[in-house]
Symmetry: C2
Subunit: 204 residues, 2 copies
DNA sequence: TAACCTACCAAACACTTGTTAGGGAAGGTT
DNA sequence: AACCTTCCCTAACAAGTGTTTGGTAGGTTA
């Protein structure tokens, strides 16, 4: 018999885990990770604080699971886009669209990631956050550089500034986006791309 | 003799208060408000936790003072711009430039504001955060609408989306901006404006 | 010198925090 | 009927939290 299983995972059902992680993510996103007590999570889930430890072995592991699940799915989509061999502009368009779809699916996780990733990435357990961020930068910055070289993106801008600009414009949307609103993720992506690529000024 | 003074403000010197608020703001910005203990602040200030209460009457009042001081100064600058009677495009340019100057001066406060304002604004004590946000929206959204009417901004974009776009792209900069870097606030503002107004794509 | 003020320390307080241990009810399996 | 599994509760724990109280070294004033 295998003995190295986590004790809390021996009998807990995966569906219930996902359900609880969902409510935990909502509370984390709304109140912030540190301001969220396990009792608040338990309240939102309709149970008592101690009962959470039947499914998870710590508050931190809930956060871990939420973030890593999100990043795993995110990179699935990104890698598909990056492997498609598109041109720079089309790659940016696809990445932005994919990002908004991800915000649509993992709104809470994205919000948490935005608020907490900076000071979490120092912890060894959340090392994968920095790794992801580096991969992220490589993908976006590389695409922008290709675009400048191919003369589809302007060459007179500081490219790192442009990178941060594009990156931020996409992800901060998670702070106000609500699924089921009047705009679909694809529509929001279209408008964002239109602004980033062509600007908001009327062309003279 | 006046008796309605706050007890902790009777003898504390304002200079020392500002000094301590500065280090507190740094710690809040780096670790997050809730994750920051008063002992950490005291450590950073080279004193013991209890000694902070000679200058301030609570941890929350430190946060309050940091945020309200920032917003007061911010609106001083904004109101000057808005009262200048500039055209829509020039108003946007001036607001963005002013914002980056504010980020330069109150980097920590801006970072705190960004992370915490959402869930703080529910508290009655921080009501002024919502007030400020409303004023903010009125100023920016109004200017954008004027610009669309005057045909200097595109009419084919969702204006609320544009507002969020412009607003967010400016303020998230506080999360990566470091004073004394290679770009001055004005230079960063110039490049941001160039991207927002004209886009990053090469004009065909 | 004596009284006073400023700015801090030392030590504790009541409370909240994440977490654990043991138990038990419901329902399925043998 | 006995047993097992799943899922939660009750009740407590130790550590950490913001805050208070009383004291005190050193400078300033009377």
């Amino acid at each position: 018999m295998p003995t190295n299983k986590k004790k809390t995972q021996v009998t807990a059902s995966p569906e219930r885990r996902r359900e609880l992680l969902g409510t935990a993510a909502e509370v984390f996103a709304a109140q912030g990770y540190n301001a969220t007590t396990v009792r608040k999570i338990a309240d939102a889930a309709g149970m008592l604080a101690g009962s959470l430890y039947y499914h998870f072995d710590s508050k931190e592991s809930m956060l871990d699971e939420i973030l890593s699940a999100f990043l795993t799915e995110l990179w699935e989509g990104y890698d598909t886009v990056l492997a498609a061999g598109l041109g720079p502009r089309e790659t940016i368009e696809a990445l932005v669209t994919e990002s908004f779809r991800e915000i649509d699916r993992h709104r809470a996780a994205v919000a948490i990631y935005q608020k907490e990733s900076r000071h979490l990435s120092a912890q060894p357990r959340f090392r994968y956050l920095s790794d992801s961020q580096q991969k992220f930068e490589k993908a976006w910055l590389g695409t922008l550089e290709r675009g400048v070289a191919a003369r589809v993106f302007r060459a007179d801008l500081d490219i790192r500034l442009t990178y941060r600009f594009v990156r931020d414009t996409v992800w901060v949307a998670a702070s106000w986006y609500r699924p089921g609103g009047q705009h679909s993720p694809e529509e929001i992506a279209r408008q964002y791309l239109s602004m980033v690529l062509d600007g908001i000024a009327v062309r003279g």
